[in-house]
Amino acid sequence: MSSIGPWSLAPEYARLVKRGSNHLQFPGVTTLTQALRALRAAVVALPSGLNHGPAFGSLDALLLPLATGVDPDVVDAEIGSFWQELDHLAAGSATAVVGPELTPVSEALLRAEREHGRTSEALLFVRPDPGRDDGLIQEAVHTLLATGRIHLADGRRDLAVVRGGSLAVPGGSLAALSAPGGEVPGGHQGLRLVPVGCGRSVPAGGGVHAVTVLDLVGTSGGLGPGGAPEYDGAPSARVPSESGLRPYLESVLPVRVGRALYRLRLLVRDRVEGSTFFEDSWLVREGLVHRDRFTAVLELAGVAEAARRALGVDTASPEPELIAEAALRITDRVAELVAAESLPYCDGTAGRAMLRGAAGTGLGAVFDPADRSVPVDPGRLEPPPPRPYEGLRAAAPLSAMFPAGICEQVSLDPAVVENPRAAEDLLRGALRVGVPEVAASVAVDAGPVTPRVTGFYARRRDVVALREAAARKVEEILGRRG
């Protein structure tokens, strides 16, 4: 035996707390203090080969019943201390979900995040109730501006359903589960998911055996069937053409996806058959992870760049809608190809791999200080830059095709520090239009563009010149890992 076991795990911590553990030698707990002690013990006893830290899921649901009736100062101190200690206890970044209400638990966690500053590795996912305005989202934005590490997520990220043979995030509402075409694997009420990192979710009570990346533009490497030449589409014209997209979908993608799935199959077999995790682990023995809730993940990188190349347009294309549409068709085709392949040991998703948007969707939003212009020279006025929300709108339908996660990154104008409600509006809007998960950071380097004050303009032609001369922007870089 040489393998290191699963790539990721999402044990049922609620079950652990409720029932206790023979392995960890504690009975079921009845107090908040005991629960936090049990979680500490469990974190230390996790397998060392995981690619992320403990993924607690909803700590509100887990701890709130035990925190009820306890002195709020004690709740604050105990939970805050627990959250900060994880840096030292866990091998990787801990994740937890708070919401949909502002509770003493979520308040304590958010406060701990702010006070702990940027040294903390932990990551909080805030899932506000869109219909509720109880201060959770304000607290989250306040914390986000202080730390940059809060993710806002839609509640739909908790579930994946099978739609048209492919796994997808429910669109619109949970009612989609019972809609025609909304069948769920194994007759479950959807596959419950737990976030384990930025734009990354795994089945609750199970995990992921293995992950591989399919870079749609770069060289994919040699394993597997096929042997078709690498796609050599190159950015040249500014007029999109359908002529390149069809062969890409019909000839190139099947080879690319086939290779990636072949690689994934080998990795899964190695992780399962090359280790004794499912025979020996205390997590399996005590029913905290279940073998039939595991899957594998195919991460997609470079969707937007592939769309541009297939259409034969450059990055400054004036046709963002066509690129978004092509990106959607490419992702849909990949999902179709993935759905047609059965992988071993992936019972959690009926033998299918789950798709994750790894990087380079290129449709991301930038709340850009440069987005202010003036027609000082009407003859040379450049087309306006994309509006911040247009990227989010374009990314929303694409996001629904990535049940294993995708996170839109929003770069905020530094002025939001004085006006945090502006950040709140943008992030709330992202969730409203269907983006499942969004993170944000305040742009620290606005370059030579003067920080925005009312009435202050940057000249668009100067900005365009800079863009041409400078390195390509972050959202266009492929292979960036979330």
């Binding site: 003036v374 027609p375 929300y389 104008d413 004085e418 950040a423 509006d425 004050v453 940057a458």
Partner: protein
């Protein structure tokens, strides 16, 4: 709203679809063309002419359609300029249309103005406006004349009227060292503003020589010491809701 008013046109210099600096929350900002002032420190001098040849009229309908696309991401819409009240009929028609449209009716509607408008303009806008931000260039009439080329009697009267009707959301002070930032001037300005509303929001925009005409390039920019002084004097004078942008 009748069709004729929806087809009303205005001269729109530019749009900023997401702004964090033009009122509360994230705002869609409409820059209207034309301003009766000729400010030394104007950062948007291209918006001063009333009818520049390169600008085509925009209809209320087109503007509302564009705002609809941004609405889920916004707190509201701010009309500025140029001088927003210079096209008051267009602003009224736009705000009427926003209030009537199911997708935009929850957005707040703000005007950013130099304040130099007849009382009738504010009466026209008041029923459909949630707040007005006034850029007060100087409290002293002489200094106002130097800075803008115009008297400030209507500006001060406008501030009084807006405050009395609860529409004065914020007063903005563009401070230029040596011209309108002396200690006693700041203190006097604060006193005058707080008489209008003891809880008035005051925003200080430190002058920056960005986008200005040659006449503004030699003006001094406030440094950190000046900014600290502005904060101290305004707060000592009783301003509690102060934003200071350097």
């Amino acid at each position: 709203m009748n069709v004729a008013r929806q087809e009303l046109t205005g001269l729109v210099t530019d749009i900023v679809a997401c702004s964090a600096v033009d009122g509360p929350g994230n705002r869609y900002v409409v820059f209207l063309q034309g301003c009766q002032f000729d400010c030394l420190a104007c950062h948007n001098p291209c918006t001063i002419p009333e009818h520049p040849p390169w600008l085509a009229p925009t209809t209320v309908t087109d503007l509302v359609a564009d705002i609809r696309g941004a609405a889920p991401f916004l707190s509201g819409v701010t009309v500025t300029g140029g001088e927003a009240t210079g096209q008051a009929d267009f602003v009224r028609a736009l705000f009427d249309a926003l209030a009537a449209d199911p997708e935009t009716q929850t957005l707040t509607r703000f005007v950013d103005s130099n304040g130099d408008a007849d009382p009738g303009v504010w009466d026209l806008l008041a029923p459909v406006t949630d707040g007005v931000m006034v850029d007060l260039k100087a409290l002293d009439p002489q200094m106002h004349l130097v800075l803008t080329g115009a008297d400030n009697a209507r500006v001060l009267a406008g501030c009084r009227k807006l405050a009395a009707s609860g529409l004065l959301y914020e007063v903005r002070l563009l401070l230029i060292p040596g011209l309108n930032d002396a200690d006693e001037v700041l203190a006097e300005t604060a006193r005058w503003l707080l008489e209008l509303d003891p809880h008035l929001r005051v925003r200080v925009n430190a002058y920056r020589a960005t986008g200005v005409r040659p006449c503004g390039r030699d003006l001094l920019e406030p440094g950190p010491d000046e900014l600290a002084r502005y904060r101290r004097i305004l707060m000592d004078s009783g301003v509690t809701r102060l934003t200071l942008v350097g």
